[in-house]
Symmetry: D5
Subunit: 97 residues, 10 copies
């Protein structure tokens, strides 16, 4: 099942540099692991912002929440989740409007 997620990161200005670098590294490793597992199937940077649009392919709402709430950057993020369904015009869906 697919979910669209927008993530906006707001790191406090006074967060010590090394703490920041460590969290960002953990976030990358975590994200790449999920991509290799096929859970995090799209990850795009929103131009000009410390934000991304992502698409997740998971089996349930609960699984998605577990993934997102365990993001190392989670406490510094605003996230918004939109559930996605197949579109009748999507040729991969072999259906039409």
């Amino acid at each position: 099942m697919l979910y669209h997620v927008r993530m906006d990161v707001h790191l406090p200005h006074d967060l010590p540099g090394d703490t920041r670098d460590q969290i960002v590294r953990q976030e990358r490793d975590y994200a790449q692991q999920l991509q290799r597992e096929g859970k995090w199937i799209h990850l795009w940077r929103i131009v000009g912002e410390y934000s991304n649009y992502s698409v997740f392919d998971v089996d349930s709402n609960d699984e998605l929440h577990a993934i997102l709430s365990n993001l190392p950057l989670f406490t510094y993020m605003e996230t918004h989740v939109t559930p996605l369904a197949g579109h009748p015009s999507d040729i991969h869906q072999s259906a039409s409007t």
Copy 2:
């Protein structure tokens, strides 16, 4: 180059049925043609709304505007375009945060 687009369709209540069906058919054919050409690479229905999230892969802003403004449903749509860049954690980008 990738662009994220949200489209919200608002068809007038008093639009004659056959006019409506024809435009929707034209929209589907137009969308499926662009998908076959590799321009419209993702098309997902937003659950519960006559809206979609799409991702386009085109060569320029002008090309994207030409595609969108020629959508049969364009005059009945609200669209919002967000340019996308590669994300350092995207494993396909072989880069990391």
Copy 3:
């Protein structure tokens, strides 16, 4: 899987009375059928507004979209869907914060 849905109904003023009554009846029958099937598990009226908060228990995003987009009142509605997960403090979840 649970989904929270807000529905705001905006019926056009110039919709003929009998058309209106028929659609509203169809909406009620449709809603009650889904409740009997255990899909539409909560349906509350928002005080003072032609709106409701509902909770659906379905197996997928696609199933929910099919249900919502087939609501007789769908074209006269604004709907917003929020996926729900188990809360660690929910005693039925036998888990804690």
Copy 4:
């Protein structure tokens, strides 16, 4: 009487860890006690956010405010309360639209 409540939690980044854990524990105990008393009848996590949708069954506005304002996390929360009424299509209400 039923009330729909949205709670968004914003814990300050610089809140000491043990203080945070203690408040969160108190919040869980408080919430579970109210659930056992039948006051807090639904508690769902909003996927991807440190937020919840809840439904309370209480006898008055004042009782609800007392409950909410005594939440251990109250000072770190944004809450919005919406009073709910019976919906004519709710089969439990044995009434229809």
Copy 5:
């Protein structure tokens, strides 16, 4: 129990004059009846707008919804209801902050 309600009236421009006058008369009679019954305890015009702030004293959410949804002008209104509780500084509450 007290509820704060904001009502914004939007009468269609093309509503025939006599229909308009009749509905407005019915609205006034309905409002004044509820005031005499002690349900509608405050009714103030928002300066410069076809809107009002009102306070209702009713026994339940359901009673309030029945009152509001039966307003002759209801279909031409946007309404927002906020439940009120006693304030600790309200001298009539013989309590303080």
Copy 6:
């Protein structure tokens, strides 16, 4: 003359406890004095929020600003003032729509 005021209080998390208690006490005393003087005629708690709806009866805009800007909690508040006029359906106004 009547004015509707919404007040939302945002006390900083790191405000020392005793300072907080003192300001809150001063706020209550100030509010109760104005109520006894007939200036602050309604004070209701918005359920679930550290906010209130109030109605003031004063002789001028300037008098209201002096009252509000001297609230002990003023610097920690967001306030919004709406001037009120008599409503033609208000039976106390012995007028009708």
Copy 7:
């Protein structure tokens, strides 16, 4: 007493030309009469919009509402009223911040 008012005019596209011209003429005559009476003391056009910022000098909220609700264009307007007080830095107030 001074009040700041923003007025946004939205004339329906299908309003017959002569009806439109007549209302606009009446609006001008009404506005100019109030200016001559010293009630409507400032009237500025917001550049690029069919809107204005105005300042009224009247004796009460009720007087202002009577003035505004009798504007010929009132039913085609969105209006927002903000009560004004003397500013301590206003040299005409012979007071300072």
Copy 8:
């Protein structure tokens, strides 16, 4: 040329008292100097808020920005500027709608 400006002041809670008083004094002197020069022609307090509506009469956009950005309180302010034009109904403009 006239410009409408809204200024909302947000002084940090932890700003030392004497620093605060000094800035506020400087702001008043600066504002009064500009009033005497005929640049800052209207300055009104928004009732209940640490905000004002002002009107400036200057020769250019650049002059206005220089004035505003040199306000002692500028870094603690949100400002919004709206350019004003003559209104056809303004009797001082000897023109009509």
Copy 9:
């Protein structure tokens, strides 16, 4: 003097085709005449929307309002004007931050 303007065009669905084409032609001729006069110095299409960002170089607020309010499409537009000043980092301004 420079002004930034956003224009969003909303043509009614039921506007007859020939009326629409005529207005759009007039709009283009009007826009191109102003560009030749050096008044309308930038005109860019916002990708995916019937909207544009423009920059005007005019001598006064009044001149800009006259230009904008005489746009053939004016009654079908939402416009928002932002006055621009020289930026200290603009190399053409030979100044720096």
Copy 10:
């Protein structure tokens, strides 16, 4: 390819003065270098705000994100990017609506 960017700068009040001056200097040098390279083709100050409207001419979304995310002030900014296309009425485009 052209992109419209709005940048709003929010420097923390407690940022040491010399740190602030250094970052602002770096920002200017960086901006002026990009202007000389023809990337940053327009940079205008929004009157009354620590904000600017800019237009960039770059070859791709990724190039723009690299430029923006390396702005010395980036972590203190809110930025919003809008892709621009040629407008049919732009005489430089030798095209018409």
